[in-house]
């Protein structure tokens, strides 16, 4: 799962808000990534590669990086894992 990040999404100076969230809360990311139901869901998403970076297509025409879909899934399915605001 993590190897998609090595492709560049969420790397360097161009970080999404969710990538910053993952950096602040790596334990949440690890916990979610280990969940079989999350793995099954994320593998079902359509992907596109733009400039050697892999994105997930959400809502038909929106490109999201690994962290963006991870936090989207967590908010919807496992809000108990979200860090306190």
């Amino acid at each position: 799962m993590y190897n998609r990040e090595v492709n560049g999404a969420g790397q360097g100076s161009n970080l999404s808000a969710e990538s910053l969230l993952s950096q602040r809360h790596p334990n949440v990311k690890d916990a979610v990534c280990s969940l079989p139901e999350y793995q099954q869901w994320v593998q079902s998403l359509p992907e596109v590669v733009v400039d050697d970076v892999t994105y997930y297509v959400r809502g038909g025409d929106m490109l999201k990086d690994f962290d963006q879909v991870l936090w989207e899934w967590t908010r919807k399915n496992r809000p108990d894992l979200l860090p306190p605001e």
């Binding site: 161009n14 596109v48 809502g59 025409d61 490109l63 605001e85």
Partner: protein
């Protein structure tokens, strides 16, 4: 008040005498009796809001606008009291309300900073044919004009950068490029708060299909709606169940639900294949970006 305003108000009433009779006059009569009057150069003016001078005709329209605004406030309050809240913030779910949706970050609406020119180029070398490049350039021109006519944004086409070899040329905010995704989408865009290296509008080969069911300009109007920060219209709880679902965290409803919105997919027998910017879209967009820039008579220092 400039003379032109006074003339406009008078001209409107003179051109349609019945107009005054059809409109509500309660507040107008009330203000006529209550407001202080002053004489300036032989003309009589009412003083509204402490320092606004209005002649008789201007006062009439002022009263109409005040009444309409107060009605809107009452409707909003009634909706909120009924549990049809206007906001859906992270961690707080307020259900029921639907409409053109904006995006929130840190509790604030995401938009481009005032004065930012949304400059772009159409990367010619990415397109398989000159015909496709020309078609997209023309569609972008129409789509950007439509948004400029809808709200206070300005796009700037930098055609001199169309021949750039790099996919991230300096001098434009975003690029428009061809990318073969195997029909994963017709076109895709970005949001204002996406990382800067994602500022591109992508065009899939399916956009050029002779079987395309949507207006090609409409598709770009929709994508540019995302560029301005607007989310899909069909993701509200009241949308047809067979419309695609999306995370609505950090979104804000800008208008009532509009099934014909430019941001609504064609799903559940709703939506529009022409993807026009509707009056409700304009109202929502103007809440974020204000009136179209050409609405203003700009006055220098």
């Amino acid at each position: 008040m400039p003379e032109t305003d006074k003339s406009l108000a008078r001209a409107l009433l003179e051109s349609s005498p019945a107009l005054k009779e059809r409109m509500e006059t309660n507040l107008y009569e009330h203000l006529r009796n209550r407001l202080r009057k002053v004489q300036i150069d032989g003309e009589s003016y009412y003083i509204a809001e402490g320092d606004t001078l209005l002649d008789e005709d201007q006062l009439f329209f002022y009263a109409q606008q005040r009444q309409a605004y107060e009605k809107q406030l009452r409707a909003d309050k009634a909706a909120t009291d009924a549990g049809l809240g206007l906001m859906r913030l992270m961690g707080v779910t307020v259900t029921g309300e639907r409409g053109l949706m904006g995006q929130l970050q840190g509790g604030k609406i995401v938009r481009w900073a005032p004065g930012v020119a949304l400059s772009y180029c159409v990367l010619k070398s990415t397109f398989p044919s000159n015909e496709q490049y020309v078609k997209v350039g023309a569609a972008m021109s129409e789509a950007t004009k439509a948004w400029e006519a809808a709200c206070g944004v300005a796009f700037e086409y930098k055609a001199d950068l169309d021949d750039s070899e790099t996919v991230r040329p300096e001098g434009v905010l975003f690029t428009v490029r061809f990318l073969d995704t195997g029909g994963t989408f017709l076109a895709a865009a970005f949001f204002p708060n996406d990382p800067p290296d994602r500022r591109r509008v992508l065009i899939d080969p399916s956009y050029f299909s002779p079987d395309l069911k949507f207006d090609p300009v409409g598709i770009l109007r929709h994508e540019l709606g995302h560029v301005l920060g607007f989310r899909h219209e069909h993701i509200r709880s009241g949308a047809p169940p067979n419309c695609p679902d999306e995370d609505t965290t950090d979104t804000i409803d800008l208008t009532q639900y509009d099934p014909k919105s430019v941001m609504h997919y064609f799903c559940g027998d709703l939506g529009s294949k022409t993807l026009e910017i509707t009056d409700m879209d304009k109202a929502g967009a103007q809440k974020v970006y204000g009136l179209p820039l050409n609405s203003f008579q700009l006055v220098g220092p």
